[in-house]
Symmetry: C2
Subunit: 190 residues, 2 copies
DNA sequence: ACTATTGTAATGACATGTCAGTACCAAAAA
DNA sequence: TTTTTGGTACTGACATGTCATTACAATAGT
């Protein structure tokens, strides 16, 4: 991790100046990460509300899922450094931080599990282990973000969202389901 | 990270003894990780060979894929501590280590991409972005390992492998493909 | 006796955090 | 106008702490 010396050097300020604005290095670190996590948690809540609304109206469920995925990707794309820190750099570093990561990932998991259950109850999903599916979706999303979204700056988020959602829809649609129709309702512009 | 004091205490040896056997803490760390990585790389190579062989014989391709997935899961299950260190604890820590992780993950990616292309060439896979699919498979696998395999010790690896492979087969099978037959050939015992 | 091991104490590199002092500006006093 | 004063932002040498690493005398094992 960057030392305070690194930070002040990079910022072109004196060592003391740093401590005028932050009580400790830990503080600035947790503050940055916390902001990122709070934003992400809010996004997840909002996505969840939108999807619930779609379920209530019984329309545009898959489309909403795709839009939610898009927003998740965009959020990470807009915060590349923090994303990198949160998912890679700081994982085994700080007790509090790890706890916070755990909280957020539990939150995300709960939301997703709930969403998949709603899909299942409406016959939009085949029978399967929801917890496992949730892990698959979360894990693949994080990995795609790290491998495709952060390194290249010229990546098309829209089509990335399309491809990811298509993958999961195909994997989850019931035996009797109409793949073409589902994909169309989720992805194709109309 | 564990201090040298922690290590010698845990191992029940003296501080001096530690330095009789290792030049430095870094050395033992890299040695352990390297062993884990080498083992994993070998596993990947072997899996790749098996799958190539299956392609050559034009039989049991999906079954072999499932077996490969199983071996990957088992390898991580057998090395829970190293898995945890490799994927979580030590990610932003050491320059050399990060480079090694990068190498290994590139190796895994190359193999997988190659395997998917073979599947595609034989009409076993729909047209899609192979790089992205590879990320999805790799990411979801790591995540499932961390969330389902490591925490609980009473998890059934076999059915985990089944469910993961079923997920990907459903996601990747061509429009005209026979899902039931594919799943049967991959998973059902016979 | 000889060797391998131990554990305490010392060392040094490097990290964070502190604080007396500098630079500067603007307003008050002369 | 010039000088003094006060306040704010900033600085970097220094204090302090942590931890890997080394040195070495004492001890256990053969």
């Amino acid at each position: 991790m960057a030392s305070v010396s690194d930070i002040v050097e990079e910022a072109g300020i004196g060592r003391g100046t740093f401590y005028l604005y932050f009580d400790s290095k830990r503080e600035i670190f947790l503050e940055l990460i916390e902001a990122f996590f709070r934003g992400y948690a809010e996004l997840l809540e909002e996505n969840h509300r939108r999807l619930e609304e779609a379920f209530r109206r019984r329309s545009r469920v898959l489309r909403t899922w795709r839009e939610n995925m898009l927003r998740v990707l965009e959020y990470h794309q807009e915060n590349p450094y923090l994303t990198n820190i949160a998912y890679r750099e700081a994982l085994g570093k700080d007790e509090d931080f790890s706890a916070r990561v755990g909280e957020l990932s539990s939150l995300a998991r709960e939301k997703l599990v709930d969403e998949f259950r709603m899909m299942y109850d409406r016959g939009m999903m085949r029978e399967c282990d929801v917890e496992l599916v949730t892990s698959v979706v979360m894990g693949s999303t994080v990995y795609v973000v790290m491998e495709h979204l952060l390194p290249e700056n010229e990546v098309d988020v829209e089509s990335l969202a399309d491809m990811i959602v298509e993958y999961h829809i195909r994997a989850l649609i019931p035996e009797v389901g109409d793949v073409k129709r589902a994909l169309h309702s989720a992805i194709e512009t109309g």
